[in-house]
């Protein structure tokens, strides 16, 4: 019985960690947890062109 409870606790911790990674990635974070590494909006540079 104790083994089952420990197993459930470990699985719950792993699932929570995976869920956090999933939601962070969904929000656009390139590095999970990093406060300033949200993904770029994809706009590229038009170098040396004066518009």
């Amino acid at each position: 019985m104790t083994n089952i409870i420990v197993c459930i606790v470990i699985l719950a911790i792993i699932i929570l960690a995976l869920a956090k990674i999933y939601f962070e990635k969904k929000k656009g974070a390139k590095c999970v947890g990093c406060p300033y590494s949200q993904s770029s909006d994809g706009s590229r540079c038009r170098y040396n062109k004066r518009m």
Binding site: T2, C31, C34, S37, Q38, C45, Y47
Partner: protein
């Protein structure tokens, strides 16, 4: 209602954005911190209407004619995204420069409200600006703001004015003549006329107490801090102080308290599990999850103190001076002086550092900077530095400082190599950086920066590092037939068999054992994993207070537990710091380099640099300390010679290509 926040770089847009939205976006006392647009809702206490106001913080721009990608974002947004009102943040200490962009914004037929920011600094300088006259001349409201202040900051009036002008027609003060935009001479003439117009306005509204030909206190300080001879030693002393305070004095004291809590928690869980639980499950929970994650989290106070001090340095304007000091060296090796900005940002995290290379106009310099920025020790590498400095060098401040200077040295050498490989060794660049005003650093901003880093660190420890530790624990518990390995047969575990071939290559570097090799491998997922994996494979849950090792291994010395000499430990540290960064940063490199040849070349270069440096560190260090070369010197020397020879071959090929190009052009 959509609100665009625009203005010149370092005019305080993001600080104002944070103040009106309550967000905590990264700010810095220099130009080029914001490279993407950010959105947030204006706080309820400022917005008295029922309408939701979305503020969009845009990267700084000097004009509506963009030169770099982040300026392009600003220009595209105000032209194409139909903001209802534009807040143009104007640096009150430098209106003559800012109003050029303002006059262009006023031509877009979108209501503009000017936030005359940093008004407090202007008052300190005893300069005055006639707000009413300026507003009349430009044909738009002007509100004085101090976005760094909590009281009387003008933000309430600013938002009220924004609501008031919404939907109103905007007049244009500068009479725009019809100009053929494809004719560069006509465009230049228009720019000159615009500058003249701005100059006339400034002359009538501004009364400057100190004129530019007089030396200010700031100039006097800069003569010392940005001096070409004194600048570098001062920077070295500053960094040494930062590392000593964070990793020798203040950090470990707080860390000791934290690890005692973690140890206490470990003990409680161990007691709850009792002896009826399967040893595999018990080890997974105690050593893999609590011990592994706890070992990493134990370094949190050291990181927090370090980031607090770095935020103070950045906020007071010192880091801007460091960019100027470094420019001298960088432009000689073909980098842009602007390259220092991504590199300083990279000391927090390599990903935004690599992304910040967009501010560099020249493509080769931009790619070279993106390739070299990950060499700067990022926040994730700091616990690794702290661990090795603490365990092998008694927490000496010189370890961290020397790693920063080694990184700068590698960047300079790396750039020299890259300009030769790409055949552009004669390329030179000029860097004009607007030096930020010195100011008393904001404790509040430093605390915000420190806690946002701490939050990031905890999230990473609780997600990626936790999962990696669980995987490592499972991989070292079972063999490939998924049988639990017997005691003394650790070499047959899944982890050992995967890491052993890699460990073989690392023998000439002084750490050719599977435990250290597996920690280096997991470090590519996230650098903090080096600590987590070392904790799991050596069953060390506390790197801060090593007394507990007596119970585990009969030794009070982590060095003995790991079987490393100080020289080998330094080599291991160098290897982990200067080989390719984590996968997330590699992904950022891939998207910014926009070229497979550059990308794979960059990864190969980083791997080669880390290996060669670690080899020299171990072999030369061993020669000095024991008067004999270390293990695996001959095969290592052959491998390193091949790497260096190949780099020289590429440089030679690049120079030939450059000479052929010169001959062809002639």
């Amino acid at each position: 209602m959509k609100l665009a926040l625009t203005g010149n770089p370092n005019s305080g847009k993001t600080t104002l954005f944070n103040a009106i939205t309550g967000n905590i976006e990264k700010v810095g006392n220099w130009a080029g911190v914001t490279i993407n647009k950010k959105e947030g809702n204006v706080k309820g206490d400022l917005n008295k209407t029922s309408e939701n106001i979305v503020a969009v913080d845009l990267p700084g721009a000097y004009s509506m004619s963009p030169f770099t990608s982040e300026e392009n974002i600003t220009s595209d947004f105000v032209r194409n995204e139909n903001p209802d009102v534009i807040i143009n943040i104007v640096d009150a200490t430098n209106i003559s420069r800012s109003l050029f962009f303002t006059t262009q914004l006023l031509e877009l037929d979108i209501p503009v409200v000017i936030a005359l920011n940093k008004s407090d600094l202007n008052q300190k300088k005893e300069n005055t600006i006639d707000i009413k006259k300026l507003s009349n001349k430009l044909g738009c409201p002007v509100i004085e703001t101090i976005s760094t202040s909590n009281n009387n900051n003008g933000l309430q009036s600013l938002i009220e004015k924004v609501i008031e002008v919404k939907g109103k027609k905007q007049t244009t003060p500068f009479s725009l003549k019809k100009v053929n935009m494809s004719d560069s001479k006509s465009v230049e003439k228009l720019d000159i006329d615009r500058f003249e117009f701005v100059k006339k306005i400034v002359a009538t509204v501004e009364n400057r107490k100190i004129h530019s030909n007089k030396q200010t206190k700031q100039d006097t300080v800069d003569r010392i801090l940005a001096n070409k001879l004194l600048g570098i030693p001062i920077f070295a002393i500053v960094m040494w102080l930062v590392f000593s305070i964070s990793q020798t004095y203040v950090g470990p004291v707080i860390a000791d308290i934290l690890v005692n809590w973690i140890d206490g928690f470990y003990g409680v869980v161990e007691g709850l599990l009792g002896e009826n639980v399967s040893p595999i499950l018990s080890a997974l929970l105690l050593d893999g999850i609590i011990g592994g994650v706890g070992a990493v989290v134990g370094f949190l106070p050291l990181i927090m103190v370090l980031f607090f001090l770095l935020a103070l340095l950045e906020d007071c304007g010192y880091m801007g001076r460091v960019a100027v000091i470094m420019d001298r060296f960088f432009k000689r090796v073909g980098l842009s002086g602007k390259s220092i900005i991504p590199m300083v940002i990279g000391t927090g995290c390599a990903i935004p550092g690599v992304m910040a290379t967009r501010t560099i106009k020249n493509e080769r310099q931009r790619r070279t900077t993106a390739m070299l920025t990950p060499f700067m020790p990022c926040g994730a590498k700091l616990p690794v530095i702290a661990l090795f400095a603490g365990v092998f060098f008694n927490g000496a401040g010189w370890v961290g400082t020397s790693m920063y200077f080694l990184a700068i040295g590698i960047i300079i050498v790396g750039s020299l190599i890259i300009v030769r490989i790409t055949g552009q060794k004669n390329a030179r660049s000029f860097f004009i950086m607007e030096l930020p005003e010195y100011r008393f650093p904001s404790i509040k901003r430093a605390i915000i920066s420190m806690f946002s880093r701490a939050k990031a660190f905890i999230i990473k420890a609780g997600t990626i590092i936790l999962l990696c530790n669980v995987t490592v624990q499972i991989m070292q518990t079972f063999n490939w037939k998924f049988h639990v390995i017997a005691e003394g047969a650790e070499n047959t575990s899944i982890l050992a068999t995967i890491a052993s071939p890699f460990a073989f290559v690392l023998i000439p570097l002084g750490f050719g054992v599977w435990q250290l090799a597996s920690a280096a491998l997991t470090g590519f997922i996230a650098k903090e994993n080096v600590i987590g994996t070392l904790a799991v494979v050596y069953s060390i849950t506390n790197f801060i207070d090593t007394e507990e090792l007596t119970l585990i291994s009969g030794s009070t010395d982590v060095a003995n537990t790991m079987g490393l000499t100080s020289v080998a430990a330094l080599s291991y540290l160098v290897f982990n710091l200067f080989t390719p960064p984590c996968f997330a940063a590699i992904g950022a490199m891939n998207s910014e380099l926009e070229n497979k040849k550059w990308f794979w070349g960059g990864i190969g270069f980083q791997m080669a640099m880390g290996y060669v440096l670690a080899f020299f560190t171990y072999q030369i260090g061993t020669l000095i300390t024991t008067r004999a070369f270390g293990v695996g010197f001959i095969p290592g020397a052959i491998l390193v010679s091949v790497i260096i020879g190949y780099i020289f071959y590429l440089m030679h090929k690049g120079e030939e290509k450059a000479q052929n190009t010169i001959a062809y052009n002639a």
